[in-house]
Symmetry: D2
Subunit: 281 residues, 4 copies
């Protein structure tokens, strides 16, 4: 397992797609040196897009959040989130009724702003649910798990409607050692109760890659071979990038440690084209 | 699909094993006529055992609970619970340290009374966990799901110890229409986070059948062909009974409705020997 | 569950994506009236694309096969197969070495024509496998299941290489009553042996939809809301179409019978926008 | 991870349950020194039972097979196979009709000798299947996989009957490097095609442990704490032994190598009480 310099790898490509958590930032904030890497890519005219499984913040809020962390020069249009994919789906497919959701009011506001009324699961009255036309798992926060997960199960037993999972990640890191159950994990619990499968958004599905690829080609001509996907997670970033036909780099600064990388690659059969310690070296 | 009289079926057997919820009682209390059926079985000298996936109450508390509901004549030794199986396992296999748990203090007290100290997950201090020797999923009540499920995940990332699920049911009915996520459902969520498999107790596993069978044969001689398992759930009662070699009766008074029975039997391939409307007709 | 006229539904759209098996043809040949439907769509200037999970024939061979069945006027470029997606992936990602495969020589020739040598699993010598750079599940025919499935398992235990499944369907109909295990089913068996996940191509994944959508927009301007996906299978055609943001029609002329449709929709939570008896009425 | 002497561990117990493949024998024959270990256990009056997931040979044939390999002194009654469990189930539950099967004629003869007629799947005529009352997966040999697996799928689509898997192992070793798909793997493929679950026999299910335990106690008094289960496989031998309440020893002479043991124990959460290099040291 050869560990390469990220700069040496990246400079061979016309565009770089970066995962956010574990690549640019971590639980302590910005990864030290990330600004330098972004500046390097800019200086070589390498296009940048950030692809993140996140539905808690809008594209605009994500950009502001990078700025607050101290990372300059990330433009709103360079950010692609799983929440954007879910929002697009809802706009195209859900044309009437009310949308019920599990998550924070903030995430509901930006994702569900499609002219339709939305209602938190805690405010749903079971004697008035005939107009509920879809359900969305938005976030792991903003509700009481003891009551609202059961209420979700029982709503979905009564109403057979499209169910959307705006971020399919099952967990996320909250400190060096600890994780928290994420939206995708809670959705999986409810799927398991109902023995149904919901509509999931986020890497490794190819939608976010396709969106970034199409948007990138509005301002130039990029073939898939000229784009490098960079991520810390074999099952989302690398699998999705491989499947979409991009070159892929696994970085060891997040979810996959140097000690585990070879083992996990062998066990999963998901093989990155390159391995780098991080994007800063 | 022929619906038979329960009395006509049962009187051909020397012993009857009954599931509790959906067979003897439901969310409203005792199923009307259950006392009459028990009296009929007693009058024919047919032995009775009640096999229930439940870890929230001790054998003694279960017996008292039937009496409170108005069902007379159920003896403590006639009750077999999944919690008893978990308790037995802990006594045989966990011989030192502290046992951490998710559930109510009451369930912890009766299951974990093995001379070992037990500690609710909310009271676990992560700087003093080296002596925690096992973890038990006891119940879906008695804790804060928002914080304690995540804390369980993180404890089990730090300590590789036996994890026991004292009731593998994933949901239970709380009213005619509604269900609640049960211990087994929460355990499944945590298994999914950790990609591990825990040690599950309860039907359809054969332990409870074996326990009831052995205990029954202390006071007589019963072959498997002389015992009838009665339950409302194909995946637990009927599958387990079939696999253990008993004759099985599906009753339509609980989880499996008359409308769904044939469909579910065909879809699952789990085939009861008899079908009855309930135990009271 | 309202059954609509396909003509009445289709004429509201600018383009129609059709699944092949169960929609245009079945085990007996062309579905009677299919030519009339194609002619109707042409007369209204509604664009047509055929999206089929098939890796046994090239795009050209597929077009010829429709002609042989008696269906006139399907152009080669109007056909999109899962095999084309697999071929594209191999061209973009596998740049050296030999590609081993399970399937017919014909399917191997058209999919693997990327300048790289290919070798049937039966001809692989285990003392010379260091140059094998990928493995492809092409087809369920063309090999001895008793020996070649085991040989595949053992090759993939020795070599950690990308594994591609060119058609993820697990079974296909061979007569009114009977089915046959398909490539995806055999791949799943091998995944299960190795506890790995391979890279699968075919609906419900969005790649084929994206390919058809991009290709369609080379010759016009079509939004997703102007395209109707038509299929007989909830889990591939309808799920994939829904997820990509198209309108979807379930037809009852193939895999999903009129008797089962409502039940399967409720059980799966995959909800088509329309239901039609077939494309011919 | 401390590696202990098997002799030092075993002498503390009144009975030892041994897995066969990977413990007593391997692909080359008897494990060198196995006779010495058996003689040691006999000299200390430690009872021996051999628990093997195998349905290809009767108890008698198993005993003869040990003798042919050069292992003396294993009595027929000391052998417990998953095939015996399947046979017992069939005798108790299938009382009429014909039993169809996939496997060798030899395995069919000993397992299906219940007075009922049996028929190999290749000889089943689909116009005369109304009297087929059960289906058994016996073995991975004795049939043409290309035709007979599909025929099995189609029989089980026509007839909703109990389906028994006489050995749930999904693979078995055939040389130092190579494995072969076993009965349980083929059954899993068919389950996957039908989306049904069959009735599986073999470790880790507790039936074989229960059978051995009951039989052992006919000739003495053994508590579970006085019995040691010895196996090379965490998911069958150790999980099953732990769950039944026995003490367990993982040996590193078979399926689990010394290099992998700690990793697999951590990944699975299945924790043996002891680890020994083999039974001979």
């Amino acid at each position: 397992m050869e560990i390469l310099s990220f700069f040496a790898v990246a400079e061979k490509y016309k565009a770089v797609f970066l995962d956010s958590y574990g690549v640019i930032k971590n639980h302590k904030g910005l990864i030290e040196g990330a600004q330098n890497t972004i500046d390097f890519l800019r200086s070589r005219d390498i296009a940048i897009r950030i692809l993140t499984n996140d539905a808690s913040r809008s594209q605009q809020q994500q950009a502001e959040s990078f700025l607050k962390l101290g990372l300059k020069g990330i433009d709103t249009h360079e950010i692609v989130t799983s929440g954007m994919m879910a929002k697009q789906f809802l706009q195209q497919k859900i044309l009437g009724g009310r949308i019920a959701y599990l998550g924070t009011e903030n995430s509901a506001e930006y994702i569900l702003q499609s002219g339709l009324e939305h209602v938190a699961i805690r405010d749903v009255q079971f004697d008035a649910i005939d107009d509920i036309s879809a359900f969305v798992f938005l976030d792991d926060e903003g509700f009481d798990w003891n009551t609202d997960i059961n209420k979700t199960v029982n709503l979905l037993r009564r109403r057979n409607i499209p169910v959307i999972v705006a971020n399919s990640d099952k967990l996320y890191p909250v400190s060096r050692n600890d994780v928290s159950v994420a939206t995708g994990g809670i959705a999986k619990l409810v799927e398991n109760m109902l023995t149904k499968k919901f509509i999931h958004f986020g890497k490794p599905d190819t939608q976010m890659f396709m969106y970034a690829y199409d948007e990138l080609n509005l301002s130039g001509s990029f073939s898939k071979q000229e784009i490098l996907m960079v991520g810390d997670n074999l099952n989302t970033d690398i699998l999705g990038g491989n499947k979409f036909g991009l070159k892929t780099t696994l970085v060891l600064s997040g979810n996959t440690s140097a000690a585990d990388a070879e083992l996990q690659i062998n066990a999963s059969g998901i093989i990155p084209d390159y391995i780098c310690a991080s994007i800063v070296s």
